[in-house]
Symmetry: D2
Subunit: 379 residues, 4 copies
């Protein structure tokens, strides 16, 4: 079997999730290409060494520039904060690697576009990691929509609710710095809900909305003085889709009691679907069946459901990190076939343009078009 | 005990609900004023006679102008379509009656303001029937908010979803005519969610949003030709509240599978509340309790819950029409005390101004202020 | 239209529920026979007078023997404690009345059999009020089973959970006296779940089980001394059905937090059904549909659902007391047609035989046959 | 750090789950003893080689007798069908290994007792794998009970529902052979629910119940002729606990639509708990809090919840196989401390005695004592 050597840049939350995914893909699925966990890279040597040992990386390193240029590396997986995606991706593209990049692709449209140009120029396979597309219940939703089970979509209602910033004494971590994170709830989690909207309903053409910061100063992580919160605590938008559907997408870190409530509901002309990541093994489906009509809770754990052939008998649920395993699996399949996986950097650019339109709408206090969609432009 | 004679104008959906309420209030509660079901009035003599007989109205009539001026009538209850509220209320106000009026108060701000002026001029007690305030679980939510249990509200998320217009062959009934209904989902159901927002969170200062009509022509009720749909099928808004909270309110008649899904969620600095009218006996409450934290489903059927002292033992749920019974009960209590019940025509004017702002925002494609709120104006 | 004069014996919890039902049936349904609320009867004159006034009974009385013999009474509705059902029913049967009797029919099998003989001898129409059969969602379950939607039933799982006796300081009310109540959770609520089992699955042939009293002494209602609790706090049984299905039925007043949790689940060879009275407008249905299989929540509020043609638009839920209205409606229809309604006193005898078998099994600590079922006997 | 070499016997469903667990424990937790995946053993060389490669076992083997006697093996993990537990455990005990054994410990009490004697004689640490004790929500339930949050337990209501045998054309696999599986739903899944009962409520002293086989013949796995089903499709029991609580435990493979519905509810004098494995990240808790009382859904994914410090941020759920990882983690901790982990072979014997009592009760059609509990006997 063909083998690919993987280099992972980043070793924290996403670094752990991807490490696990690279390893589990082979354990639970019949992969067409065998990934070797070659090297994991991070700035803190002690930290990265520990993660390397835990997940069986053959090597660890601290200099990403050296790593991404190594001849023995085939795949570069980027799991660092958003402001570093650009240089890493440019270098990896120049070196002709297959690139998997965490979302959001970049912190602004211009950077995202440069990255897309680079991978195109480098002839690389490129993939954006929007792991929620790989939840079996979400992939099942996609299949049902494609089969026409809910007819023409009319409404998308996305809410990604978290609550980790509710207390004003939560420190001003890097995710609250504009330079590093780009934005707040907008780029971190609204981006997920917007990606699901695009995946399941279609392109978003225009938006209105607002960005809100409820707590404007927070203690420095190291204690002591207060630092300004530079990004949004909450982002609320209304959207229009190319196909005529309308929607709302909201993301907040101030929804007390909602830990990771990434929920959507789609109402179509023939039926509806809803999903909530906190019960990620379940998909709710409504179709018209006369007096027997009702929302049905499909426990998406049967072998007939997407990705579930690899796991356990029906009714044995899976967890969050499996979405990354499925992402890696699909990337390996794409590598084997020599075709571009989805979502890719083009999706990353489109996603960034939506976030950009939300930011513009928040300032103009009016509807704003999403660049390049429905205005004759192209990506 | 003091008695009041009631005249009910209208005998269809709302007329039946109010008829039942006037009768049940006395059966299940200790009312301080005894209502007599004196006369029910409607244009169709056979129809109104039937309803009169079913609910024990002493008389029925077809001429509302005569009825509202009768000396033996103390209370006029208006349950007709929105375009007739104005003349009936003006006449009742002139005659000095206590007035209960179904929502929306009128089909536009100007009419609503005339009605408010009239009841003030007439020195009448006046009440707007926003029955959902009288759901025990909703009244409990209000009590918990007032007690500070969820802290300072940050988010209001209201969705009123119905699906009776999904099929394109549903006829073009009066609710789809602008002249009679004023608007579509906006006035009919978004108004309910906006009222709950005002009741539970506070005044709305500005809105952006859109009105959407998915199916623009429908068959005439009597069959045959297609008639234009003149009102919105769906209304989506984002809102800002006086106190700093932000929110979204959506109403649609195109949410396939959602029959009467009037749901809200409020996230505060200390906790959250959520409610869904399809499970109207339940209120969900989250407060921070360390490792034991979670959303709790309060079955609001204990005697300690609002209005439940009149009904059955704990766990025996009540239905939709009881909300009207509670409304009538509160009106009778207000009459006994000689004080103004809530919500009243002033709330009706404020509600209408919100709907008006949504219509303006839909046209201007930008944020619009709600008249008279936060701009130094007053009602 | 034919009219019947109704006499109601009892005016407390069940008396109020039946009073309301007799009145609401006419208000919301097209009844084929018009009931007049002629006289309500109770021992406490002040109490019964109050209820009479609240619900519009033409007269009130304190001597049931006189009432049930009145020539102008057509229907006798018995809502008193179980130990009084026998004499009232015998008198009413002798007088040739139509009889509606609250469950359990009697406090023991012998009394129940005497009552059945009496109504047969008197040629009376007789009905037992097991109101939960008239929940629209339950009637829908019955219809689906009869249509074969879940195939051959295999499992019935009934739990009727309440919690009003959890605190040891709850007084020793009449429901805890053997002479008056007959039994505890067994006769009061297990009887409901057993009736639903018979209604939906079929006859029960044998049982094993236990009766348990957790708190054996409680304060007298008037305060002061402790009195013995003479009945069961909880009753647990396993059962076998004639058709080969097996089941468990449990009733308790010690399920902390469960107010009126009357739930059942039925698993058949082709599908399953489940229901919970605390969400009485919902029925859950599972049928095999490949990757789209799941439990579906049917909101049983559409006009196509049993009894719902009388109430509100889809999605507007109804409450507990509506089940009595439907019972009265069905009795009126049976009267109009001159046929025996169901369940009737024969069902009452069968139900009593199940309770009797549970008591015997509790003592013998072994399986016991239900008399007259499956052993060649007949009722 | 101390290291232990692990030998895993069995490589199918449980073999995969345990392989994963041995590896993931180190990846996600700070283990005090480092397990080396030394050798995996199975009869089918090709099959076991594949699993060895997928999970990183250093070696694979086909002769368990040789493996368990190897000097370089410290831990023997037994994941084979029940009838083989005895010889493997005896050999491993003789060789002085730490033993982890899948449940049920054996196919009958005598075998289980021999195994317990053997590990005692060998001075081995021994552990029984009842993985559901290691669900974070279940461990949280245990903690809450131990803290007295629900008071004295009164009711345990356990149902373990599956549906994989509903269709009569499902083959007669080894799990339906008495010689290999010992029993059907009884040993396979009722044993889980009984273990949770013992873990959370206490020892079971007596049982009554029934075993039922709905489909008595099934096609041979290799096709063709029908073979007899020798074990129970469903097992239903009522139980009494040492502390005065009562309960019901039911297990079935015929609950259409229930894939792996391992649910329990415990009602105590102060509160209640409920849990369902299909939503294994959630625990429902009720405690009395006046008008704010209600069942609360605790999403057991916070770092304050058992085992969750190793995984993801709050709200990111985990799956079925994580329970094995936690089991292995606890075994490693016990090895480090030189103390006996729980549950152990003594629990296995007690569990087997419960199953034995159910089988006796099924035959005697009467209540049967659980051997050695409450009758002065001892294990």
């Amino acid at each position: 079997m063909k083998k690919v050597n993987v280099a992972l840049i980043g070793y924290k939350f996403m670094g752990r999730a991807h490490s696990n995914a690279w390893r589990q893909a082979t354990s639970f699925f019949d992969v067409p290409v065998a990934p070797a966990l070659k090297v994991i890279c991070g700035r803190d040597e002690a930290g990265v060494r520990d993660v390397a040992a835990r997940f069986g990386w053959q090597e660890h390193a601290t200099d990403w520039e050296e790593v991404v240029r190594r001849d023995d590396i085939d795949v570069v997986d980027i799991c660092t904060p958003g402001d570093t995606h650009l240089p890493i991706a440019l270098a990896a593209a120049e070196a002709g690697k297959v690139i998997l990049c965490e979302k959001p692709l970049a912190n602004n449209v211009a950077d995202a576009e440069r990255m897309l140009e680079a991978v195109r120029a480098g002839g690389c396979l490129h993939m954006l990691c929007h792991n929620y597309r790989r939840v079996p219940a979400v992939a099942l939703a996609k299949r049902l929509i494609d089969e026409g089970r809910i007819g023409e979509p009319r409404h998308y209602r996305g809410t990604y609710l978290q609550d980790w910033l509710v207390r004003p004494d939560v420190p001003r971590v890097w995710r609250l710095e504009k330079a590093r994170a780009g934005s707040g709830a907008l780029g971190d989690i609204l981006s997920h809900s917007a990606d699901l909207a695009r995946y399941l309903v279609g392109e978003i053409t225009e938006v209105c909305g607002m960005l809100e910061t409820f707590v404007t100063e927070r203690p420095a992580p190291e204690g002591g003085r207060l630092l300004p919160v530079e990004v949004d605590d909450a982002a609320l938008t209304l959207v229009r889709f190319e196909g005529g559907a309308v929607g709302s997408i909201e993301a907040t870190r101030f929804a007390t009691g909602r830990r990771n409530y990434n929920r959507f509901e789609i109402n179509g002309s023939l039926g509806s679907l809803s999903f909530n990541m906190e019960r990620m093994n379940e998909l709710e489906l409504y179709t018209e069946e006369g007096p027997e009509s009702g929302f049905k809770t499909i426990l998406a754990t049967d072998p007939s459901h997407p990705y579930m052939e690899g796991w356990w008998p029906p009714g044995h649920i899976i967890g969050y990190e499996h979405t990354f395993t499925h992402t890696v699996l699909d990337l390996l399949r794409a590598i084997a076939d020599g075709r571009q996986p989805k979502p890719d950097f083009e999706d990353g650019v489109r996603a960034q343009k939506i976030l950009d339109a939300v930011e513009r709408a928040s300032l103009s206090r009016a509807w704003e078009s999403v660049q390049g969609i429905g205005d004759g432009g192209s990506i």
